[in-house]
């Protein structure tokens, strides 16, 4: 443990000032979003601006819920993200278990292919992907979105879960088998509990990716009632007159679930980061 920098020394002063500037420049836009979302209309455009709402109001949220389909978008986002997480984790865990516990021809080649596809960006595949999805008759469905996200999340999920499974000693499984357990029992009672932190971390990275996506929804979904939050709010923003209070209220509600999850997972974050979990 390094000693704390003394606030009164020159070095200490310097570090505290830098940290303050850093915090304010990253956090201030969020503060401003929250503050604006609770301001009544006339306060939003007042000059000089108030930093906090003088006349605290929930009217922006009322308008958001009553005049727009925000709640539908929210439900869609939750559904699509949850399905993506379930599918990715199931397929990813099975794959990662296979990559760490079995020897078969081409295993290392498969692992490096997965790492290579991790570099793919959505824009590089979205055009042919769209043409294919249309051919399959899946355009404008949530299934298309879930498929796209699962494919996109699989490379980093496999990579991440592989690292976690690798850290679990094979001897534990063998011990369970010697005690008469079936292989599937050994996996359920020995491996999964130990891999749990890794599974949680991977789930959250997957969730955030699906929750935040814009391009796939923009391209694959055309009906308003099937849109998810990113596109929903972007379209509200692009409507003729911008209702800043309502837009800020909506932005805040989209951000909250991500930040809550993020705070939960923070202690797993460094581990996941080391294995290259986040992309974007």
């Amino acid at each position: 443990m390094k000693p704390k920098n003394n606030f009164f020394s020159f070095r200490g002063q310097f570090i505290y000032w830098c940290a303050a500037v850093l915090t304010i420049s990253t956090a201030f836009p969020f503060f401003w979003m929250i503050s604006t979302s609770f301001k009544p209309l006339q306060e939003i455009f007042v000059s000089p601006p108030y930093f906090l709402p003088k006349d605290f109001t929930l009217a922006n949220f009322d308008r958001l819920f009553e005049q727009t389909r925000f709640l539908t978008y929210f439900r869609n986002s939750v559904f699509v993200s949850a399905c993506t997480v379930l599918l990715t984790i199931t397929i990813g865990s099975a794959g990662a278990y296979s990559l760490t516990r079995f020897k078969f021809y081409g295993r290392e080649k498969i692992a490096s292919l997965i790492l290579f596809t991790y570099m793919f960006a959505p824009i590089m595949i979205v055009i042919p992907f769209y043409v294919l999805i249309k051919k399959l008759g899946l355009a404008n469905t949530h299934v298309a979105l879930i498929m796209a996200y699962t494919a996109f999340c699989l490379p980093f999920s496999l990579w991440l879960l592989r690292a976690f499974f690798q850290s679990i000693p094979i001897a534990l499984e063998q011990a369970a088998l010697i005690d008469g357990a079936k292989r599937i029992q050994a996996v359920i009672y020995v491996i999964l509990p130990l891999a749990f932190p890794g599974i949680i971390a991977t789930s959250i990275f997957t969730f955030i990716l699906a929750w935040n996506d814009y391009i796939f929804v923009r391209i694959l979904i055309t009906s308003d009632e099937l849109k998810t939050l990113s596109v929903g709010i972007a379209d509200l923003y692009n409507a003729t007159v911008i209702d800043w209070g309502m837009i800020m209220a909506g932005s805040m509600l989209i951000t909250v679930p991500v930040l809550v999850f993020f705070v939960f997972v923070q202690r797993y974050l460094i581990a996941g980061w080391g294995a290259g979990a986040m992309k974007g």
């Binding site: 956090a27 979003m33 595949i125």
Partner: protein, 295 residues
């Protein structure tokens, strides 16, 4: 017993990995190959049917000034954002690597911009940079830096705005990657440097930076790939401006060709060109900077 574990290993192993491989192949690898194939065709984005045109799409783009402009804007955008992200990211990591009260809080807050939806980041900044009611113009005028409000979304400043927003959104990735590596640098190295009389700046250039070399190699590679192919941040900023033309990078141009002019063949050609540029620059990058002991 160890024998029994290996007995049916080959088969079970392949069965367990096959769903993942199937999905990755059919939904990532196959579309890329299909895109290469499409780039030789004239194809409408919505209607079925296509016409083989050989290299016509490629030739058309080579003589198209919009295409070259998109390469230029894309290069300006990715180079400037990468340099700024790396410099700011290292500085920020140096700060939060120090011991001070509230350090964990600062580390948490620092990562927020990276995990929020891009749509939200863009909306927040469009509000802050609004030319009539935006806080940034108000503060700059109040302090006296400028006399008249700046039109941040206008043609003269939109690239600057885009760069500021992107650096803000993506520098946390650099901070966390670099910080993780900084924490593993043995303190004895610094002590030795201090005994030799090296000041803080020399310690940074002679101890910290060489230790960060490997992580920076990977971070610069990943960030370059992702900034060069960045679509949503750029596209969302172009919405409702009128200065769209001045930040039309290659990914945005590919999207527009496909979904606004309905030229899926030409759009695919642009995606293939993007892919080729990435592969070639990655190869050059590896040749220039990779050392034997890395990765």
């Amino acid at each position: 017993m160890g024998l029994k574990l290996k007995l049916s290993a080959q088969k079970t192993g392949i069965i367990l990995i096959s769903p993942a491989i199937l999905l990755i192949f059919s939904l990532l690898v196959y579309p890329v190959l299909y895109g290469v194939w499409l780039s030789f065709f004239k194809k409408h984005s919505f209607f079925p049917g296509q016409k083989f045109v050989g290299l016509a799409n490629y030739i058309y783009l080579m003589t198209n000034s919009d295409f070259w402009m998109s390469i230029w804007y894309g290069t300006v955008y990715s180079v400037s954002t990468i340099v700024l992200q790396i410099v700011l990211g290292i500085i920020a990591a140096l700060i939060v690597n120090e011991a001070f009260r509230g350090r964990n809080f600062v580390r948490g807050v620092l990562l927020f911009p990276y995990v929020i939806p891009t749509v939200v980041a863009i909306i927040l900044w469009k509000w802050l940079l609004n030319n009539q009611f935006g806080l940034v113009n108000y503060l700059m005028m109040a302090v006296g830096i400028i006399d008249d409000p700046i039109s941040w979304m206008g043609k003269d400043h939109i690239m600057t705005s885009l760069i500021i927003i992107s650096v803000w959104e993506f520098f946390p990735f650099v901070v966390l990657s670099v910080l993780a590596r900084m924490q593993t640098i043995p303190p004895t190295l610094y002590e030795a440097a201090q005994v030799d009389g090296a000041g803080p700046i020399r310690r940074f250039f002679h101890v910290t930076l060489p230790q960060l070399r490997n992580v920076l190699f990977v971070v610069i590679l990943l960030r370059s790939i992702w900034m060069f192919t960045k679509f949503d941040t750029v596209w969302l900023l172009t919405q409702g401006g009128g200065a769209e033309k001045y930040i039309r990078t290659l990914p945005v141009y590919a999207y527009m060709r496909t979904f606004m002019y309905y030229q899926a063949g030409l759009g695919s050609t642009l995606a293939v060109i993007m892919f080729l540029i990435l592969i070639i620059s990655t190869a050059i990058y590896f040749k220039m900077f990779r050392r034997e002991e890395e990765i």
